[in-house]
Structures are given as structure tokens and as C-alpha cells.
């Protein structure tokens, strides 16, 4: 308890300044304004932004230098993420830089590294994650998409679901079943699939947010070169778990939610009741104080995980799960409070205002559509990345030994 002594890294403040400077100079103000309003960003504009980050090596700053990274410490990565969130920069899709990239440089062949790593560093490709299936959600290991070896190829048949941005993706990293006769976790392989391969169909899923980023992906006799297998056949679950740890710590998003608390304070001073700003009401002042308490706790839990990553190379099992639990319920509470304020404007949800180029008349605050969008989207925060129920099981079994 309280033993860890965090020596402040003296270079971190300079790094933070450098990131802020870059954002001031390189983040187009139009892009920033649209992010503030919660408007959707197109593939081109987003790709441009990622390339700018890529040209500094900042998409993959955390990667070891020998794989094209900058060898950032976990603290540097945290500072970078925080500043991006605070500046309303479009968030970086983790599929290439945080997920498949590290899997490739840890378990991949030299050929696979040469083919994919530089393209991730520079953002020359979009990736998507082929994991969940209609029958394999929380029970991901029960996945059924089948890959049968035929000579130099795997022939893939099956269906993935909740595949974010599959409609943009050039490549997909996919968990497939290569052995249906063993214990489920032991028959899974990790396969890289070119999305241009014949037999792949992407079908959009519209969310409760009324937007499209999720998809179903159908594989019908898709022939994937065997050299696209990562590591060993039937060892895919190990590689997948390696990746899940990274995914979970990433979901705290404290920088972004600091910004949302800022939105809340702004809304409270602009929204009136009986002619007086809501911020004058003690119950709202207390609510803001409560949210700040929880945000600080989430930041402290995230800092603990950073320390663990620094010392042991990765977050702790209990820590990552607890962080996901607390940060996601906090996100929902913050957005719920924002919704409560917007209720004075009857929760109008003008989804057209979320398309860039909107110049119609919006009733109520300009930022309401984007904030309600985020509120709806984050109803999934306790579902994606391992549901809260699953996180509790992880803590119960893995940390409390129950």
C-alpha cells in the first residue's frame, strides 16, 4: 500500500508541451470544431490526420525503436493520449497501432513485419478487428468462423459482427477456428486477411446513435495465403489475450472526459431554469463535485496501471479490469448528467447536424446533438471490450480467488 514512489520524469513536461505545440500547429481548426460538435469524420479527412501523426512516428510512439516506434514510456503514451483527448483531436483507431501491430512485431515473421509494420507506422492502411460473431460475444472463444488449410491457403468461411470500420478497412486481423475438435481456446488461429480478397462482404449495422461504424463481415470461401498466419496454428487465443490487455487499459479516456466535464460546466452556465443558470443550483454543484471525485479516482487507477506497465511490462489483471469497470461507469454518469441538463431542451436529437456541412437551424444548444450521440454511444461502454459482468468475473476469479 502506498509504497510506489513515482519519480516524476523531468522530460515529460517538455514532451507534453511538444504535443500541445504539434496539435496547435497541425490539427486543422475545422477538424477540431467538427469533433467538438460530435460530427462524423470522413475516411479521407481522418486518413490525412493519421498520416500527419504518422509522419512524426506518433501513431506508434509506444513501439520499440527496432520496429519503427519511438520507444515511448507508458507515461509518454498516456500524456500523448490525454493531450489528444483534451484538444478534441480525432481519436486514433487502435486496430493497427495498439492491437495488431504489437502482435505482428511480437509473434510475426520477418516478412509479415516488413509487409505491415511500416504501413501501420505511416498510416498507409486501415485495419479492422474480426473477433466477435453472432454466437460468440462474451464467450469469444466459442467462435466458429472456420479456416481450413488447403495447400498454400486457408479457406475461410463464416461471419464476424460488430466489426468497427470494416467498411473502411484495407486489412482485417481475424480469429478463426482451425481445429473444431479440441477445447475451444486451443483450436483458434490468428489470421491476417486482405479485405480485397474475393468472397468478403461487408454489411453496415446502424447503431442506436443512428450512425454507421459497425458492420457484419461475411466470409464465403475466402482464400487467404497461409503465410498470413501469425505464429503457430491453433495458438491464436494466446496472441488474442496478449492484445486484450492493451485494449482494456486504453478505454479509460480521461483526457476526453475532462473535456466532457468542461462541456457540462458550460451547459450548466448556459441552460436556465426559471431564468437562472442551472449552475446556481446546489444539487448541480454537488453533482459536478461528485463527477470530479470519480474522475480523479479513475485517473489514479490509470496511473497505477501505468506504473505496473512501467515496472512489469503490462497492466495487472485486477487493475485493468477495475479500471475498465470504474472508467466506463464514470463515462456513463458524466454523460447522464449532461443528458439531464439537455432534458431542459427536450432531448432534441438532430442527427443531420452530425454530418459535416450542416448549416440548418438547430433548436437548443449547438453541442446537444453531439453530446446526446456520445451518451447513446457510451451505453455500449459497459458492453464492449469485455462487459462489466465479465470484468467482475475476471476480478472474482483472477484477483480474489473466488
Amino acid at each position: 500500500m502506498f509504497i510506489r514512489n513515482d519519480e516524476p520524469d523531468p522530460t515529460l513536461q517538455d514532451f507534453r508541451t511538444e504535443v500541445r505545440q504539434f496539435l496547435t500547429e497541425q490539427l486543422p481548426s475545422e477538424t477540431q470544431r467538427r469533433q467538438e460538435l460530435g460530427q462524423t469524420i470522413g475516411r479521407e479527412e481522418y486518413g490525412e490526420w493519421l498520416k500527419r501523426l504518422g509522419s512524426k512516428g506518433w501513431l506508434t510512439g509506444k513501439w520499440p525503436v527496432e520496429h519503427g516506434g519511438l520507444g515511448w514510456s507508458p507515461d509518454q503514451f498516456a500524456v500523448f493520449s490525454e493531450e489528444l483527448g483534451r484538444a478534441s483531436a480525432p481519436p486514433i483507431q487502435g486496430f493497427g497501432p495498439t492491437m495488431v501491430g504489437p502482435v505482428i512485431y511480437t509473434f510475426g515473421t520477418e516478412k509479415q513485419k516488413a509487409e505491415h509494420l511500416p504501413a501501420i507506422v505511416q498510416h498507409e492502411r486501415f485495419w479492422c478487428q474480426g473477433y466477435s460473431e453472432p454466437g460468440a460475444g462474451s464467450d469469444l472463444a466459442s467462435l466458429k468462423t472456420r479456416a481450413v488449410r488447403e495447400g498454400d491457403h486457408y479457406v475461410v468461411n463464416g461471419q464476424k459482427i460488430w466489426t468497427s470500420y470494416a467498411h473502411w478497412a484495407d486489412w482485417c486481423f481475424c480469429l478463426v477456428r482451425t481445429d473444431p475438435d479440441v477445447k475451444k481456446q486451443e483450436g483458434i488461429s490468428f489470421l491476417l486477411i486482405d479485405m480485397k480478397t474475393p468472397g468478403i462482404t461487408v454489411r453496415p449495422i446502424i447503431g442506436i446513435t443512428k450512425s454507421h461504424h459497425l458492420n457484419e463481415v461475411f466470409f464465403e470461401d475466402v482464400r487467404v495465403p497461409a503465410e498470413n498466419l501469425i505464429g503457430e496454428e491453433n495458438k491464436g487465443w494466446t496472441y488474442a489475450k496478449f492484445l486484450l490487455g492493451n485494449e482494456r487499459v486504453g478505454t479509460a479516456e480521461t483526457g476526453k472526459f475532462e473535456r466532457y466535464l468542461g462541456h457540462l460546466r458550460h451547459l450548466l452556465s448556459e441552460t436556465k431554469e426559471d431564468g437562472r443558470p442551472l449552475i446556481e443550483k446546489p444539487e448541480y454543484q454537488r453533482k459536478v463535485a461528485e463527477l470530479e471525485v470519480t474522475l480523479d479516482t479513475v485517473k489514479a487507477l490509470a496511473a497505477d496501471q501505468l506504473a505496473a506497465a512501467r515496472e512489469d511490462g503490462s497492466p495487472t489483471l485486477m487493475g485493468a479490469a477495475a479500471l475498465k469497470l470504474r472508467s466506463t461507469t464514470f463515462q456513463q454518469e458524466a454523460l447522464q448528467t449532461i443528458l439531464d441538463v439537455c432534458a431542459r431542451h427536450t432531448l432534441l436529437f438532430e442527427t443531420d447536424a452530425l454530418h459535416p456541412g450542416w448549416n440548418g437551424n438547430t433548436v437548443g444548444p449547438d453541442e446537444m446533438a453531439g453530446l446526446l450521440y456520445e451518451h447513446l454511444y457510451r451505453r455500449a461502454a459497459t458492453i464492449y471490450g469485455g462487459s462489466s459482468e465479465v470484468q467482475k468475473n475476471i476480478i472474482a476469479k483472477g484477483a480474489l480467488g473466488l
Partner: protein
């Protein structure tokens, strides 16, 4: 007020539920909420409700109604909520008709006959942009002019104002300190500017700007300079109660769908419904929904009996319902997992409807504030 017997209420409830089950499936909700749909609700359905006598359950007999009370209206609202019906029950039957019935002259009350026949849709334009949930904040002004009035002011979004035949608009007489009067204004009157918008749960309405809208003296409800704050409060309380009933219906359906889903969805080798954590979650949802329904029922009885404590019961029922609606709606999505986040499944739409029910005409915090201020002692 002639009350329906229990049997009559049972019959009313059953015929409503049967109707909605046969004629208002989720697919219909999807068609009507398509952004291309001109109205966002069904005129045909409204005509059917009229022919079945449902629009008139709480309208006076001389308007062709059944002279029931809030309880009968609540039976209609709960069935509508259970089916996610989009038609303007709240603005037309509860708010607009309520205001006309309480404040209108005999001549003005003839409108209620048209409401009963499904020929007149109403919207209630009272709340203003800086009012929040407060009920007495009105800056719109009705200036006497040539025997009638001209109305100028800004009204926040009102349900169905985009399509109602008549807007019931509140404005202060003479100047911004005058008594609050209510006016019947044709939606298409000169000087009215509507900004249509959809709500989170895909119902439609509009914000209304009035610029020197000329109306006759006969447009002023009651044709006198009496302050109508009391009546406005009363119809808003009725609306809060009606929304509690709507939420009770929506929660019941959301519960049914959630229980059914967990029985059929299997993970880790068994249906989700076998996991005790999820069983207890659904029990918690069910207990919350029951508490809200019971509180609402108590408030309905008290209101229809004219009990002096009815207002407090309504406010408390709204607090209880708001809490239950938030929990049941949110957990409805959670227990559906990823599927609960899709536009294609009904549960997300129940979540959205329940979110509106929670906050329309005042949220839990606001009513608690009202209860505290009005003297717990």
C-alpha cells in the same frame, strides 16, 4: 365525473393491447420514424383510435367522450407506451384538451368534439427557452390590438407543434408582468415560425417563434384576463402522470423482451437467463417497474377522487417512475449486449422512449426540489 367500472377498464385495456399487438408492430414504428415520413406518426391510426372511442375516454359526454378520468387516459397511455406508439396523445388529449376543458368557454369547448372525432390535433406551447422545467416562466406577450391580440414570443420545442391544427399558446396579457393567458392559435397563422426537430425517441415537434401573430378575442381561452397559472400547473401535473403511465407500459414491454432474450441467447454453454447475476438484475428491474406502476396507480386514484394530496402523489410517482425508467431502460440494453445497441432491435428504442418519459415535464431532481420546497412538514 363518471368513473369506469373495473370491468370497463379491463375491457378498455384489453382492446387497446390487442389493437396495438395486431396493428402497431415494431416494423410500423420503423416506417413512421423514417426521416422521410412526412408526419412521423400515423393519421390512419389516429382515425382508428377515434372510431374506437379511445380519444374520448376522458373527454366530456357533450363532446362525444366517455367522461372518464386520468385513470382511463392512463390505460390508453400505458398501452401506447408499450407499443411505442408515436401519435400525439400527450399534447392533444392531455395538455391541449385538458387546458380547453378547464379554461375554455362553452363555445371553445366545442373543439373537444373535434378532438374526440380525431379531427383536431393540438400542441401545447408553454415552455420557453430559459424556463427549464419551471412552470411560471413566461415572457411571451399578448398585446391587445383591434379587439383581439397580437402575440409575440419564443416557445421551446413542443411535441407535435410541427403538425398540430391548433397551438395552445401561453402569453402574458399586456406586458411581461401581466397575468398568463392561454390562446388558441392556428398553426398556420401569419407570424408563426416553426423550427421542426426530432426528439431522442424519434417523436416530432417544433420550436415556435411568434411575431405579432394576430388572433381574435375569442382565441383567448375563457375570454377573460384571469391568470391561468393554476390551470397550466394542473395540466402539466396531468401530463406528468400520463407520462408515468406511458413509462409503465414501456417498462413492461422492455422487461418482457429482456427476459425473453436472455432465455434464448446462449453463451458459455447456457442461456443468459441461467446466470444468477443476470437473474437478480432482472428481478431488480421488475421490482423497480412494479414500484413505479404502483405509485402511479395510487396517484391516479387520488387525482380522480379529487383528493387534496393528489399533486404530491403525482410528483412522487414521477420521481419513482423516473428512477425506474432510467434503470429498466439502461439494463434492457445491457442485458441484450451488442444487439441492444443496434437500431434494428426494439430494446434501444424502448430505452430512448423511457429516457424521454423520465424527463418530460420535469425530471426526478426537479420534482424532489418541488416536494422539498412545498414543505415536507
Amino acid at each position: 365525473m363518471a368513473a369506469f367500472t373495473s370491468d370497463e377498464r379491463q375491457l378498455l385495456h384489453e382492446s387497446l393491447v390487442e389493437y396495438f399487438k395486431a396493428n402497431y408492430p415494431f416494423e410500423r414504428f420503423r416506417e413512421l420514424t423514417d426521416r422521410q415520413h412526412p408526419d412521423g406518426s400515423s393519421r390512419e391510426a389516429w382515425a382508428e383510435y377515434a372510431s374506437l372511442g379511445w380519444l374520448g375516454v376522458a373527454l366530456p359526454e357533450n363532446a362525444g367522450g366517455s367522461a372518464g378520468g386520468m385513470t382511463e387516459l392512463a390505460i390508453v397511455m400505458s398501452a401506447a407506451g408499450g407499443a411505442l406508439a408515436l401519435e400525439p396523445f400527450l399534447p392533444t388529449l392531455v395538455l391541449g384538451a385538458g387546458a380547453i376543458e378547464l379554461a375554455g368557454t362553452a363555445a371553445q369547448q366545442e373543439i373537444l368534439g373535434e378532438v374526440n372525432a380525431g379531427e383536431r390535433l393540438l400542441a401545447f406551447c408553454h415552455t420557453e427557452p430559459d424556463a427549464g422545467f419551471a412552470r411560471g416562466y413566461v415572457k411571451a406577450v399578448a398585446t391587445p390590438s383591434g379587439g383581439g391580440y397580437t402575440l409575440t414570443g419564443e416557445k421551446s420545442f413542443a411535441l407535435h407543434a410541427h403538425a398540430a391544427d391548433t397551438l395552445v399558446v401561453s402569453a402574458r396579457l399586456n406586458d411581461d408582468k401581466g397575468p398568463i393567458a392561454l390562446f388558441l392559435v392556428p398553426r398556420t397563422a401569419a407570424g408563426i415560425e416553426l423550427t421542426p426537430a426530432p426528439t431522442l425517441d424519434e417523436r416530432r415537434g417544433a420550436a415556435v417563434r411568434l411575431t405579432e401573430v394576430a388572433v381574435e378575442a375569442s382565441a383567448c381561452l375563457g375570454e377573460s384576463d384571469t391568470d391561468r397559472s393554476g390551470i397550466i400547473n394542473e395540466v402539466l401535473d396531468r401530463a406528468a402522470l400520463a407520462v408515468c403511465a406511458e413509462a409503465a407500459g414501456a417498462m413492461a414491454t422492455a422487461m418482457e423482451q429482456t427476459v425473453e432474450y436472455t432465455k434464448t441467447r446462449e453463451q458459455f454453454g447456457q442461456p443468459l437467463s441461467k446466470f444468477q447475476v443476470l437473474q437478480h438484475r432482472m428481478v431488480d428491474m421488475s421490482v423497480a417497474a412494479e414500484g413505479a406502476r404502483a405509485a402511479t396507480h395510487g396517484a391516479l386514484r387520488a387525482y380522480d377522487e379529487g383528493s387534496p394530496g393528489a399533486q404530491r402523489l403525482i410528483w412522487r410517482a414521477k420521481v419513482e417512475t423516473a428512477r425506474a425508467a432510467r434503470f429498466v431502460g439502461g439494463q434492457g440494453i445491457q442485458l441484450h449486449g451488442g444487439m441492444g445497441m443496434t437500431d434494428d432491435l426494439a430494446i434501444g428504442h424502448y430505452y430512448k422512449r423511457l429516457t424521454l418519459c423520465e424527463t418530460l415535464y420535469g425530471d426526478a431532481d426537479w420534482y424532489l426540489g418541488q416536494l422539498a420546497q412545498s414543505g415536507a412538514a
